[in-house]
């Protein structure tokens, strides 16, 4: 009895403290206090959609479009890699995009990676080898910030997993550089700060990255695909999906086998269970 009495008293006390000291002042403030000010930029944010028709790897049966991944790699190499690293990906991984071993060797050689002079021990540079990882465009974060108006370009290896709905987000961001609605901007006094760029799909709409894909045909695709901005954006978004999760397609394919097997096993387990219980003869007491 005493536990219950103590419990009731404690319960009422906790509730009283919560209601009188937190809920009531909060509710009063919410009802009569000043409305919390929202940054004017929120009014300009638009949720971004992926490319029309989606990506080839979407869905439970998704597959890589290797031609697209190769195009996306070209965009990364010719555009993004000037500022963004890809530190968890090695050149040898490119073989998974459908390149031959010799092509990967040649591709690796076309990159310059940090090395050590075997005679003097001094740091130097050398052509890449398949086992090397993609080089960092800046020596360190301080150098990266100094060269980019204090904004450090993030590593892109995991970008599509580090953002909600990442593949579509990358696509939307790259195609989201527009001008804000002038009338609306004038009304709320919104202005993109100096050195930043307006992007309606970036969470606070002011992004430090200048439009990386500014004109159609910025990249000349080897397979003759027309390099429009949406095309390049979709290609590089697909490539970055691969860098973030190289096992994506293998994972889904393995999943079907596993689930198929488990369905089969579960049906058997169910039949076995029903058989055993069907044989249960009630023993009259």
């Amino acid at each position: 009895m005493s536990i219950r009495l103590g419990g009731i008293i404690a319960g009422l006390a906790i509730t009283a403290v919560l209601v009188l000291w937190s809920l009531v002042p909060g509710a009063y403030n919410y009802a009569f206090g000043p409305a919390p000010e929202k940054q004017p930029s929120y009014a300009f944010y638009e949720h971004g959609e992926g490319p029309a028709g989606g990506f080839s790897f979407d869905g439970a049966f998704g597959k890589w479009d290797y031609a697209q991944l190769q195009r996306g790699y070209q965009v990364y190499k010719e555009v993004c890699s000037a500022c963004h690293s890809l530190k968890f990906v090695a050149f040898r991984n490119l073989q998974e995009l459908g390149y031959t071993e010799a092509e990967v060797d040649a591709e690796a050689k076309s990159w310059t990676v940090p090395g050590i002079d075997p005679n003097t021990g001094e740091t130097t540079t050398r052509p890449g080898m398949p086992t090397d990882y993609f080089p960092m465009p800046f020596a360190n974060n301080i150098a990266a910030a100094a060269a980019n108006n204090n904004a450090i370009p993030p590593d892109l290896s995991l970008m599509t997993k580090a953002r909600h709905d990442g593949s579509n987000y990358v696509y939307a961001l790259l195609t989201g550089y527009t001008e804000p609605d002038a009338e609306k901007a004038a009304k709320v006094g919104f202005e993109t700060p100096l050195g930043l760029y307006f992007n309606k799909h970036f969470p606070n709409v002011n992004i430090a990255m200048a439009p990386p894909l500014a004109v159609d045909g910025q990249v000349t695709y080897a397979d003759g695909t027309e390099a429009t901005i949406p095309q390049m954006s979709a290609d590089v978004a697909a490539f970055l999906t691969w860098t973030a999760e190289p096992s994506l397609v293998q994972r889904k394919q393995t999943g079907w086998w596993v689930i198929g097997f488990l369905l089969f096993a579960t049906v058997l387990a169910f039949l076995s269970y029903k058989q055993i219980w069907a044989g249960l003869k009630p023993k009259k007491g």
Binding site: G7, I8, T15, G255, V258, F270
Partner: protein, 452 residues
């Protein structure tokens, strides 16, 4: 313990006879989860989750031990070694996703197991010890899961470590030094990461030990059942094997289908994208949230927004931060006294009309708390979580004791056999005892006979 009619283990071969003399392990298994354990015949699917929880623990230990072979607990490389597991280690992605989603599924199973206990009052005498050990397991699980989430050393890992150890800084006088001691520094770094890894490896085995105690305690009174009427006779029970091994086997299959679906098709759906950004001590993510299974308690933590003091003065008796921390811990510790708060002689919610209504309110309340815990700390979520928090404490501390006092339970079946078959010859014998008031724990089973 066992019922008088429990089957006895009889070794058949020379080897098992020899083993039975030297180390009667097969006998132990036979009596624990074999034909030697008589179980009520009327258990529904909600009774699958104990076995499933044990299975989850095994998944986590096996995948965890394997992941530890490739992981390095050092702030410089931890994030990279996780990526190494995902990219280079053979089937590393599968093992890591199984481990990460395994934690979520462990909590799903445990929550269902706990709410089964709430509805059927499994915590009541004579099963209080099972319940208390279960709450201990839950607390150990929370600690283990939290420390495991720190190991990938992503942004959520880092800031989770910062915020959760920050809870301890709310304690008066010793709080700040305690946080520094817990972290081994002024911010999460190598020292914290290493000790979290060490404890994350150790605690699952402690959990396994408490699970053995939990099962041991279970075998003293035997399993409860959906009617809440205790086992009276042999016809009330069936041997655990093959009846419930077969049923649990089927349940396991269903569980594995759901689990593997998440692992192979939506492996990151229950995680947070920010944890794929390497820890950065200089920048907090815009919206930090714990893993989903902590959200109800996180909502309770955040519900206390005002300092408790003397109104219209500046005197603060308990600051809001400390209130939140106390409430969060109290919200779980209250489960420890639950067997003594609810004194209804009837166990099962099926026969308790009023209790049952409040049970479903509690379920909704927990869902609301979960949602609010994941929402940003803005109105109206703050007010909603405050109301839900108030209900949470009122439910356990005020409503349950009162309901158990005033409620008129529905008539109980005479026995499990009667509940299952609609008739029980033993029931023809004169019935004695009613279900009003009384102390169920101290009375023999007769006290749990139907009110007529």
């Amino acid at each position: 313990m066992s019922f008088a009619w429990a089957k006895q283990y009889e070794p058949q071969t020379a080897l098992t006879k020899w083993l039975d003399e030297k180390l009667p392990f097969p006998r132990l298994v036979y009596n624990a989860v074999g034909a030697g354990y008589p179980v009520p015949r009327n258990l529904n699917y909600m009774w699958n989750f104990g076995v499933l929880a044990g299975f989850c623990l095994m998944i986590q230990i096996v995948t965890g031990v394997v992941l530890a072979m490739h992981y390095a607990a050092n702030a410089q490389v931890a994030f990279g070694t996780v990526e190494h597991i995902m990219r280079n280690v053979n089937y590393g992605w599968m093992l890591r996703y199984a481990h990460a989603n395994g934690a979520s599924f462990f909590f799903i199973v445990i929550y269902l197991h706990i709410f089964r206990g709430f509805f059927y009052s499994s915590y009541k005498a004579p099963r209080e010890m099972i319940w208390l050990l279960g709450v201990v397991i839950f607390l150990l699980m929370m600690a283990t899961a939290f420390m495991g989430y720190v190991l990938p050393w992503g942004q959520m890992s880092f800031w989770g470590a910062q915020v959760i150890t920050g809870l301890f800084s709310a304690i008066p006088l010793v709080g700040e030094p305690l946080q520094v001691w817990l972290l081994g520094g002024f911010a999460p770094d190598n020292a914290a990461l290493n000790r979290f890894f060490s404890l994350h490896f150790l605690l699952p085995f402690v959990i396994a030990g408490v699970v053995i105690l939990h099962i041991w305690a279970l075998h003293i009174p035997g399993s409860s059942n959906p009617t809440g009427v205790e086992v009276k006779q042999e016809s009330d029970t069936v041997p655990f094997h093959p009846y419930y091994t077969a049923k649990d086997g089927f349940g396991l299959g269903v569980f594995l289908i759901l689990f593997t679906f998440m692992v192979f098709f939506l492996p990151n759906a229950l995680g947070h994208p920010d944890n794929y950004i390497e820890a950065n001590p200089l920048s907090t993510p815009a919206h930090i949230v714990p893993e989903w299974y902590f959200l109800p308690f996180y909502a309770i933590l955040r519900a206390f927004t005002g300092d408790f003091g003397i109104p219209f003065t500046d005197v603060v008796l308990i600051p809001a931060k400390l209130l939140g921390v106390i409430a969060m811990f109290a919200s779980i510790l209250v489960w420890f006294i639950l067997p003594w708060l609810d004194k209804s002689p009837v166990r099962s919610g099926h026969y308790r009309p009023l209790f049952r209504k409040f049970f479903w309110v509690l379920v909704i309340d927990m869902a609301v708390l979960t949602y609010c815990g994941g929402a940003p700390a803005e109105e109206p979520f703050v007010i909603i979580s405050q109301i839900a928090t108030a209900y949470y404490f009122l439910h356990f501390l005020v409503i349950l004791p009162i309901v158990s006092q005033i409620e008129v339970p529905k008539p109980l079946p005479f026995s499990i056999t009667e509940a299952v078959l609609g008739k029980d010859k033993a029931a023809e014998a004169p019935r004695a005892g009613t279900a009003q008031g009384g102390d169920a724990g101290s009375l023999p089973d007769g006290s749990l006979q139907p009110a007529e």
